[in-house]
Symmetry: C2
Subunit: 195 residues, 2 copies
DNA sequence: GATAGATGTTGGCTTTGCCAACATTGCTGG
DNA sequence: CCAGCAATGTTGGCAAAGCCAACATCTATC
C-alpha cells in the first residue's frame, strides 16, 4: 500500500522545518498549516506531531533556525575601513536587509507567537543577535560616538530603532526611497548614528 | 423560541466591534473568534457576516476604531512648557504608553493582517497619527533640534524609533527599568532627541 | 398595509489542530 | 542472530472556526 522503504522518512523533523522555512518566504506564519506541510512532504497529517507536541512548538523550532540564520547574517558583516561608527551602520543595514529578505520569518521571530515557547537556546541565540549590535555600538562609543550614554541603554535604543525601521518597512509604511541613493535604508537605520 | 423583540439586535455591527475591542485588551487578535464573539453577544454564529464579508474585514473595522483612539491619545498630549523638544518627547512617551495599555490592539494596528484590508479612511487616520509626530518634530527642529535634517526623513526615523521601542517592550525584550526613574521609556523613546 | 430589503437563524461544508488506536521499522540486549 | 521494544508513521475521528445557502423575521417605504 506504500512505496517500499518510505514508511519512515529518515529525518522528518528537519524536512518539516525546511519546508516551513521555504513557505515563510512567501507566506505569513499564521497561514502555515502543519497538515498541509506534512502532505506536501508526502507524509500523513498527524506525523508532525511525533516531532512537535503542538503547532506552537513547531513555530518555536522554526524560530530557533531563524535566529540562527539571523545571527550568521549579522556576524558576517565585515568591519568598515572607515571605523567603528561606519561598521555599526553596516550592521544596522544588514539587519534591515535580513528582515526585508525574510519578511515573514523576521516577523515571526519577533512576534508573541514565535517567542511564546522559545527554548533557552533560542533565547540565547536571540540575545547573541542583540550582542552583535551592542558590541558594535560599544566600539563606536569608544571611537567617540555618544560616549557619554550608558552603553547598555544606548544599545537598547539602537536595537529598537533598527527593529522599528525593519518593521515599518515590511508593512510598507515608510516612504519609498525616491531620489535617495541606495543607502536610503542604511541612512534611516543610522539616524541615531550621525557621522 | 426567542425573546420578543430580540430578533434584530439594533446595532450589531457596533456591538461586535466593541466586544472585539474589549477582548483585545487581553487576547491576541489571531485568537479572536468571530463565532465566539457573536455567541457571547447573544446572536447566532453567522450574524456577523451580514456586517463584515470576511474575518479580515472585521479586523480592518477594528483597526479603524483603533487608529481613532490612537489619534486621540496622541493629540491630547499638551505642549510642554519647556519647549518643543520636550513636547516631542512627551508625545513619544504617550505613543509608547498607548501601545503598552493596548498591547494586542497596537500589534494589530501595525500588523499585515490588520493593514491588509484597511480602508482609505483608516489609512488616513493612520497617517494623521504619524503627522502628529511629524509636526512635533518639525517644531522641535525649528527650535534647533537637528535642524539640518530633512523633516520628512527625520520624522520617519523618529516614528520607526518609537515604534520599535513600543514593540520590543511589548514582547518583553527590553531590559526592565531597574533603578531608572519613571521616565525610563520616555528616555528610551527620546534617544534620538537629546536635550 | 403590502412588500422589498435588511438583518438574523439554522444547517452544513471545509480546513485545521490534535488525539487515540493501530502499523511498521530500526535498534539493542540476550 | 533475532525477539521485542521504542520510535516513528498511518488512519479515523472530534471539535472549533470561517463561510455559504436557504429560510425567517422585522422595518421602512410607497
Amino acid at each position: 500500500m506504500m512505496k517500499e522503504g518510505t514508511y519512515h522518512h529518515g529525518d522528518l523533523r528537519e524536512a518539516l522545518l525546511q519546508q516551513a522555512l521555504k513557505d515563510l518566504e512567501t507566506t505569513p506564519a499564521h497561514e502555515l498549516s502543519v497538515r498541509d506541510i506534512a502532505q506536501r512532504i508526502g507524509v500523513s497529517k498527524a506525523a508532525p506531531y511525533r516531532h512537535f507536541p503542538t503547532r506552537l512548538d513547531f513555530l518555536a523550532a522554526i524560530c530557533q533556525k531563524g535566529f540562527g540564520s539571523f545571527l550568521v547574517a549579522l556576524k558576517s558583516v565585515p568591519a568598515h575601513p572607515k571605523g567603528p561608527a561606519k561598521t555599526l551602520r553596516s550592521i544596522a543595514a544588514a539587519y534591515i536587509d535580513f528582515a526585508w529578505r525574510n519578511p515573514w520569518l523576521y516577523r515571526l521571530l519577533f512576534s508573541a507567537e514565535g517567542l511564546q515557547l522559545a527554548s533557552e537556546s533560542t533565547k540565547t541565540t536571540g540575545k547573541e543577535c542583540f550582542r552583535v549590535l551592542e558590541e558594535a555600538a560599544k566600539e563606536a562609543q569608544m571611537a567617540g560616538w555618544r560616549s557619554n550614554d550608558d552603553p547598555a541603554w544606548l544599545a537598547s535604543a539602537l536595537w529598537a530603532h533598527v527593529h522599528g525601521v525593519a518593521m515599518l518597512r515590511l508593512e510598507g509604511l515608510l516612504a519609498s526611497p525616491q531620489g535617495r541613493g541606495d543607502t536610503y535604508w542604511e541612512d534611516l537605520a543610522g539616524a541615531m548614528v550621525e557621522i
